[in-house]
Symmetry: C2
Subunit: 84 residues, 2 copies
DNA sequence: TTCGGATGTGTCCATATCCAGACATGGTAA
DNA sequence: TTACCATGTCTGGATATGGACACATCCGAA
């Protein structure tokens, strides 16, 4: 199992390649914001169980599908904080 | 109907805010690559109908959910070509 | 120690959603 | 014109998936 942090780029942004790396990035930004899963789930109108699974990269076949499309196109996905 | 291009940034990358903008970006990169929906769907192991809907931003409640989470966290999503 | 918060994880179930297939339309080439 | 391709869109059905809820674990505070 990969317990490392999601690899940030030189400017603190995150590359997304897999559902797992997407989940890791979400978890990073959530904890950075000082929010619990319960709080963020409420803010986003989601179930906490879903958010837990999302952060773990589980049960996200849909995400995997979309990432497959983008990978085939050679498109890179980058996440970063808007207020930088 | 919106026939405009998805708004590119100064460096040719695309910001994703909604399922619609995600779909528009995918369509842009697909046509740029000279691929038909059928071709890309086969390459990615998907149904063409799904890809058509994905590019139109339809039936993507899952994407909308995840985008809600990222928006609440103030996280920005950028797509760009890896070979630039 | 106990207590509470945070998180992971399991089950059940209603429903969203993907796929297959068909059909219509618009464009283009012969 | 006909023929073909790309795309949008609809239906039906099988399945994936999210929500609700419960429970266990871990950890820090009191």
């Amino acid at each position: 199992m990969d317990t490392s942090e999601p690899s940030p780029t030189s400017r603190g942004s995150y590359r997304v390649y897999t559902p797992e790396s997407l989940g890791a990035a979400i978890r990073h930004y959530r904890t950075e914001a000082g929010l619990s899963q319960t709080q963020l789930a409420e803010m986003a109108g989601l179930n906490r169980t879903y958010l837990s699974n999302l952060e773990s990269g589980k049960e996200t076949e849909q995400v995997r599908r979309i990432l497959r499309v983008l990978r085939q196109l050679g498109v890179r996905i980058t996440l970063d904080k808007a207020d930088w």
